[in-house]
């Protein structure tokens, strides 16, 4: 509701609040009372929560009680998490082994035959976005009495589907899904309801705030991570790969967890600041010319490594999951026996989770356990790099300018970004037509986008490292192909809610109105509004030629490129 303050150009409106739209509008005060009487909330100190963020408020607005029937899927392996679950009653079954995609109503992709690809060339559809079955799919079932809760996907014929797979049970009071929710990573396994079960779903914002003001919950979550995942993650990092188990455990025990940036950074992009303002707004993880104390290990997300140049900062490189910052300084300090300063800064791009391992831990458990030649090799690999053209201003068309561009636009997320060399592109649109041919007459990208010099990064799905579009998909229709890593939308399971399209910070997902095979626009029988489906580039998975756009470009102007890989940038610059 708005009230005019002064006539003319301004209008006074109420500022939107975090809890204007609760996770579930059906949460009642009596539900919150019940929760406050149960663990872990009963032992939380409500007085430790700030007045603006009370414990009751978090439980009322950031949680919901979800009831599952036997066989309902609570979380699916490979889906991206945005919430954790606390079992209130009943039992859930954790499926340790992978289940086939078709168990969730996703049929396996079969590559089209050679003749079918030829036939596609003859097909001319008069109307766009035709579907065999635009309406509801068979194995979606709404939660009983649900108003704003998503429908559940259930497994049919559970004994047959689970035959020969390893499962484990979890019971009332146990928490799961917290790691995926907090690190925005894929669910490591599928969880099903075993008999009727009642679960408290905590959205990540609520879980984060509960952890912030409840040290016990923070400890529980960290303990679960240390117990289940941390040693494994450390072992995957080259620095710690050769360490004996007891040293690895000691490092895991001493590692400090830190998070930087906003989890929902995509909400601000691409509207946010640019250039120096943007860098200034990026949270500092480690600052140049401040005393160095150990190394920073990127656990998820991306961080910008930069050094001061003029009145700004020049990007040297960006670090992704598993990369280490500050090792050169740590090795130098260990060699010289005295502390030294960081020679570059590390800043969070978007949302970053890091582990900080202090110098004392490295000197006690890591450096003495590594052979001298390995230390020399690490020192060589991690020597402090400066931009090649350090003496002058970066050349906009050169590698330095390109690096700044992909970091500033957050394009580093893209594993299969579509880049067009505008010096070669004749704007013939053969790529768009080829895309349409491969997708029943509907192109799945726009030959338009963000430009740097003669390179255009188009509005085509980049199949991101951190696919924020997947967060919040209620049916799991958008997901990553576990084999190829391609982000795909399973059309029959898409309910057209538009969450993925509004989450994509690059505007690479389009919501389209669909029609039945006779060309009639499908409308919701209740609201009479057109039914929508999310569409985007699927990298022509299954086509023998690979992406049709690349295959169709006559002038070799279009490439699909991993912008998260600094080495690949050279390929773009060289074209």
């Amino acid at each position: 509701m708005s009230t005019p303050a002064t006539p003319g150009l301004e209008v006074a409106v109420q500022r939107p609040q975090r809890w204007d739209v609760p996770f579930d509008s059906r949460m009642r005060a009596v539900d919150v009372e019940k929760l406050l009487g149960a663990e872990p909330f009963a032992s939380m100190d409500a007085g430790a929560f700030p007045a603006a963020l009370p414990l009751e408020g978090i439980l009322k607005s950031d949680t919901r009680v979800v009831r599952y029937a036997d066989g309902d899927v609570v979380v699916r392996e490979g889906d991206y998490g945005h919430s954790a679950f606390l079992i209130l009653s009943g039992t859930v079954r954790v499926v340790v082994d992978s289940l086939p995609a078709e168990a969730f109503g996703k049929p396996p992709e079969t590559p089209p035959s050679w003749w079918k690809t030829i036939a596609q060339g003859f097909r001319r559809t008069r109307l766009p976005e035709l579907r065999d079955q635009p309406g509801r799919m068979a194995n979606l079932r709404p939660e009983p009495g649900a108003v704003d809760a998503p429908p559940h996907v259930f497994l049919q014929d559970i004994p047959r589907v689970l035959a020969g797979t390893r499962t484990a049970q979890m019971h009332a009071g146990e928490l799961f899904g917290e790691y995926s929710a907090l690190t925005r990573s894929q669910r490591p396994c599928t969880v099903l309801a075993q008999g009727p079960a009642s679960l408290l779903e905590l959205r990540w914002q609520g879980l984060r705030d509960l952890m912030r003001y409840s040290p016990a919950l923070q400890e529980t979550v960290e303990r679960l991570y240390r117990q289940n995942d941390l040693a494994l993650h450390l072992q995957e990092t080259p620095l710690f790969a050769g360490l004996p188990r007891e040293s690895l455990d000691a490092v895991a025990d001493a590692a400090e967890f830190e998070s930087f940036g906003r989890f929902d950074w995509n909400a601000d992009h691409p509207v946010g600041a640019k250039g120096p303002e943007l860098i200034a707004a990026e949270p500092v993880i480690a600052e140049e010319e401040t005393p160095a104390d150990g190394v920073v290990l990127v656990r998820s997300g991306f961080a910008r490594q930069s050094h001061r140049f003029g009145s700004g900062h020049r990007t040297v490189k960006y670090l992704g999951k598993g990369r280490v910052f500050g090792l050169a300084e740590a090795l130098q300090a260990s060699r010289e026996g005295r502390p030294c300063d960081y020679r570059q800064s590390l800043r969070a791009i978007g949302y970053v989770d890091v582990l900080r391992i202090r110098q004392s831990v490295l000197e006690e458990h890591v450096f003495p356990r590594l052979p001298p030649e390995r230390l020399t090799e690490l020192a060589k690999q991690h020597r402090v790099e400066h931009a090649a053209d350090d003496q002058g201003l970066p050349d906009s068309a050169g590698q330095g300018g390109l690096l700044e561009f992909v970091v500033e636009e957050r394009l580093i997320n893209g594993r299969q970004a579509m880049a067009i060399d505008l010096d070669r592109c004749t704007r013939c649109d053969d790529c768009v037509r080829a895309c349409a041919t491969a997708h029943d007459g509907n192109p799945r990208f726009l030959r338009h986008g963000t430009r740097h010099g003669n390179h255009l990064v188009t509005h085509a799905c980049m199949h991101c490292v951190d696919p924020v579009c997947m967060i919040g998909c209620p049916t799991g229709a958008i997901g990553r192909d576990l084999g190829s890593g391609v982000v795909q939308i399973n059309d029959p399971t898409c309910i057209g809610c538009g969450v993925c399209a509004s989450s994509c910070p690059y505007d690479n997902i389009r919501m389209v109105e669909v029609r039945d095979v006779h060309g009639a626009t499908a409308v919701d029988e209740e609201s009479m509004l057109p039914l929508l489906k999310a569409t985007k580039c699927d990298l022509c998975v299954g086509l023998p030629t690979g992406p049709a756009c690349v295959h169709a470009c006559p002038h070799d102007a279009l490439v699909r490129i991993d912008l998260g890989n600094v080495g690949e940038l050279g390929r773009l610059g060289a074209s």
């Binding site: 089209p112 050679w114 596609q120 060339g121 013939c428 037509r433 338009h448 169709a552 002038h555």
Partner: protein, 275 residues
């Protein structure tokens, strides 16, 4: 930017020279054995024309594994250049005198010339387009032009509302209204220049001495919009040229193929039983 003589081009040229050498040698052999080499060169030329026309057909089957378009493009360019040499061998460097042959030769010359011109344009115009401001999609240009016109009108009208002065509005009506409202003349599409933009800029600069501070500010906005509109027109002209030549090139191909087949049939029919 790599030089003109890249390894790829040298390899392509060497292959083309080898194939042409072989065709020329075979032509000599047939002539020396008292045969009629025009049938041999005619069939080679017809085969080349079919191969050249197949590229457009291949584009239709974008999802089929028929080879990447970039390889077809290379094949198309070298085959096209080679077909010119084979055409010269076939005609013996003389212009045919019959109406069928004359028309056929003219069609071949026009198709080949449009191909060479297109090759030149596809290698040079993208560089020019890439140097102009933002990237625009050809089909969206009319809508973007409208946006520019609306912004210009809004700038002028808001100045009148704010200052009550109509001097800038007068300048707009006299010099700029037609520029923003009308499409560019055909000559511009064939030979785009920035002459009109410079003239309008000069008019605006000249008028600025009579403008108040508020009008000067709106005038700056108009300068930017004139530039933007000119960039859009430049994009439209060059992108239109890139599309138009291809349309002409393909449109010439089909009558050329039909006449070539008719010419072959006639040649066989009147060959007097000779091969």
């Amino acid at each position: 930017m790599p030089g003109f003589l890249t390894t790829k081009r040298l390899k392509g040229a060497a292959t083309l020279a080898t194939v042409l050498g072989a065709v020329y040698a075979e032509r000599l052999r047939v002539d020396r054995s008292l045969g009629d080499s025009s049938f041999f060169t005619g069939y080679v030329l017809l085969g080349a024309l079919v191969l050249l026309a197949l590229y457009n057909t291949r584009k239709r089957f974008a999802a089929a594994p028929l080879g990447a378009s970039r390889w077809w493009m290379q094949l198309h360019v070298y085959t096209g250049l080679g077909s010119v040499a084979v055409f010269l061998m076939h005609t013996g460097l003389c212009w045919p005198d019959g109406w069928l042959e004359g028309t056929l030769a003219a069609l071949f010359a026009a198709t080949a010339a449009s191909g060479v011109l297109g090759l030149y344009w596809t290698r040079t115009l993208p560089l020019k387009l890439a140097r102009v401001g933002e990237e625009v999609i050809y089909e969206r240009i009319p809508a973007l032009r409208n946006q520019v016109r609306e912004l210009a009108e809004e700038a002028v009208l808001s100045t009148i509302a704010a200052t009550g002065s109509t001097t800038l509005a007068g300048v707009y009506s006299k010099h700029l209204a037609a520029y923003f409202e009308q499409p560019r003349e055909w000559g511009y599409f064939l030979w785009p220049t920035n002459r009109r933009r410079r003239a309008l800029m000069a008019d605006l600069t000249e008028a600025s001495r009579f403008l108040s501070d508020a009008e000067q500010s709106a005038g700056e906005e108009l300068f930017a919009l004139v530039r933007k509109r000119d960039d859009l027109d430049y994009h439209a002209a060059l992108q239109w040229r890139l599309k138009a030549w291809l349309f002409v090139h393909i449109a010439l191909t089909y009558p050329l193929l039909i006449l070539a087949v008719i010419h072959g049939l006639v040649a066989h029919a009147f060959s007097g039983g000779l091969p």
